[in-house]
Symmetry: C2
Subunit: 411 residues, 2 copies
């Protein structure tokens, strides 16, 4: 049983987290949001009040913090009395924020694996490079740390566990498919921080198949999927966080991640990558200025948060899980369909931010209620999925399943 | 009658100019080369000696100079005793180098219109914005200034004049077609300074048609041409320097410039332009660093000079000129075909640099001999073309004509 929430970060996902926390502040208590630039936090709080999102009268305060500074984050946790920290800042700050939680006893959540700004795509399993090294420290301190509790990773991990718990006896493959069939109307934009977005796709594509890590390059393996609502969509095997934890629990199964890309995205990505403009290594201009090309690409692209007002269409993200039931081959597809426009109307963000931002608030509520306050470090598939998925349904992200009989129904 | 040459610039074209000057140093006298970075000049002189290019024993010295500083350039002209300045530095330095020539009495040549780093594609005619404003000053000082005496502009202007002098009674249209059918083997590269290359294509495409300036956008107007040696090639109407002078002398004619582009070039250009990466206006990164995107693109692209060793294939550049002869419609195509590999073997540069760098040396020889030492500012079409074109033929750039009878022969 914990309360009072500190949100780290002030981007598009943080905006959703803030609105959803406000909608449940009767349970969550005081709310705080902190980022390097306080003005961004102020703007998010203003949008919360504009929508009248606070369920009951209460505190929502903005703070400036350097989240790379553990002591500063720990001080802020103590000052605010936050017992729950939702880290939706850049993936570069995971380890410092986690350290501050271990120091103060606050529960920790994030939505992506820690990244080192200097490196791209480290050795699998990625979690083993950073977060999992603090597992014993969390356990010793009794700190609840729920890793990767956005949509993917996060909800899709719970889908795998739901299949294990309720639909299948054995699991032979988990294919996570992420399709954004929406349109933002811009010539080109990324749906979240371009720096993180492109970094996902410039390295090796790791998948877990036949009991071992397999390596491919981006856009090397493509497959058309036929999904509810969004229809036939081409997706490509991509490196992604959840593959690196699901492969531990489901080591006997093939675990792959597939992301939908249109030809236009692939073309722009290919041009930028082949020219060297996605590099995180500095180059020197003729005038002698040292510049990191990827940061310049980020600077010229639209701010992902700015896409929300015009975003239309739907996303479909889910798990195709194959295995056996009663000794016979069986398959389920557990999924969510979200709508960009509905997300914007409710919380002022597009659907990609919405699907990433609602789950950590659901997790915070489960921690507040004691259901998920496990006092150790876990990935989402290690937790009971039903309370989480049912709460998400109430909060705007309903899950459905095409069960082994082929029936498409609410979970 | 003048002698002693100062070359300004140390890029791929300067390399060709240096080799060609060396091959004619019996007439040209002492040779000097200056750029911001003296080491680049040293490297060029070393390559001249490596090829044994100096026709007779003589001086070839390197200097460091800031070509944006008129006084520094004038000092260098006086110190070296140069009576001929070949400016093949960046187009940003034309006006300061020209001022130094007017001050010292040295003859001036360049191969492109002056550009202001802050602006792209100014009002037509472009020459009217800068160079032509100094025409009276050149005349008063008796200074020979030959503007735009590379290949295009330059040789193609002489082709128009040759058609006027020898093939046609009236001229109704001049279409300059520039095809590079060579291959450098890189994924993407520009053939000359990317900053200048892209700036040519990001602004309005000006052409002179029906007695007035017409505006189009880049890649809006395309046409397939069937040319000698290189065959059928798609080219696009492009803004280019020579249109802005030829339209003055041939104001009754349509004057257009066409440049060949493959689909791959167009795709890369379109991606970079639409993302804002070709902008010369600074952007600010998330970290607060001010950066000019175009300079970063330049930094990641291959140095055009580095393409030379692997460059294969041919260029074809010429003028399709239509009009009348003896009252009947008549047409000529006057052109040159150059070979990348031959250029590299002779002077260590690729064909694009070769075709741009040989003409100003031919012009320098004509000034040295008094043939073109006109004591005022001119564009190439104002000078007798035959001595120039014949000399170029001896120097490695032979011209041919498909005459009104359809015969393809040396000019």
């Amino acid at each position: 049983m914990k309360k009072n929430v500190l949100i780290i970060g002030a981007g598009g996902v943080a905006q959703v987290v803030a609105h959803k926390c406000a909608q449940h502040n009767d349970i969550l208590g005081d709310l705080h949001i902190a980022s390097r630039t306080r003005a961004k936090c102020d703007a998010i709080i203003a949008s919360v009040h504009e929508k009248g999102a606070m369920k009951v009268q209460g505190t929502f305060e903005a703070h400036a913090v350097d989240a790379m500074d553990t002591a500063a984050v720990a001080d802020l946790i103590r000052k605010t009395g936050a017992q729950i920290v939702i880290n939706v800042g850049s993936s570069f700050v995971n380890m410092t924020v986690l350290a501050a939680c271990i120091e103060t006893g606050a529960a920790y959540m994030d939505t992506a694996i820690h990244e080192d700004p200097e490196k791209i795509c480290e050795a699998p399993p990625w979690y083993g490079n950073y977060e999992w090294k603090r597992r014993a420290a969390c356990k010793a301190a009794g700190v609840t740390a729920i890793l990767g509790v956005g949509f993917d990773p996060g909800v899709v991990n719970a889908y795998a566990r739901l299949a294990e718990d309720e639909f299948l006896d054995t699991i032979e493959s988990i294919d996570i498919v992420d399709i954004n069939a929406g349109s933002h109307g811009r010539w080109f934009a990324t749906n979240f921080d371009p720096e993180i977005n492109f970094r996902e796709f410039t390295g090796t594509v790791y998948s877990w198949q036949q009991g071992a890590w397999q390596s491919n390059t981006m856009f090397e393996v493509g497959k058309e999927w036929d999904l509810p609502v969004v229809g036939k969509q081409k997706a490509y095997m991509t490196g992604h966080d959840e593959v690196h934890s699901l492969s531990a629990r489901y080591s006997q199964a093939d675990v792959r991640f597939w992301m939908g890309f249109g030809d236009h995205y692939i073309n722009v990505f290919t041009v930028l990558k082949n020219l060297g403009l996605l590099s995180e290594q500095p180059v020197k201009t003729a005038e002698g200025q040292e510049v990191i090309p990827l940061k310049v690409v980020k600077a010229v692209l639209p701010d992902p948060a700015s896409l929300a007002p015009d975003y239309e269409g739907k996303t479909c993200i889910g798990d195709v899980i194959k295995g056996t039931k009663n000794g016979k081959p069986a398959e389920v597809f557990i999924y969510n369909v979200a709508d960009h426009k509905e997300a914007y109307e409710e919380v002022g963000s597009q659907g990609i931010s919405y699907t990433a931002g609602v789950p950590p608030v659901a997790a915070a509520l489960l921690i507040a209620k004691g259901v998920w306050d496990v006092g150790t470090m876990v990935n989402v598939e290690e937790l009971p999925p039903r309370p989480f998925l049912e709460l998400l349904g109430e909060m705007g992200l309903p899950s459905r399943v095409i069960d082994p009989t082929g029936a498409d129904r609410a979970i």
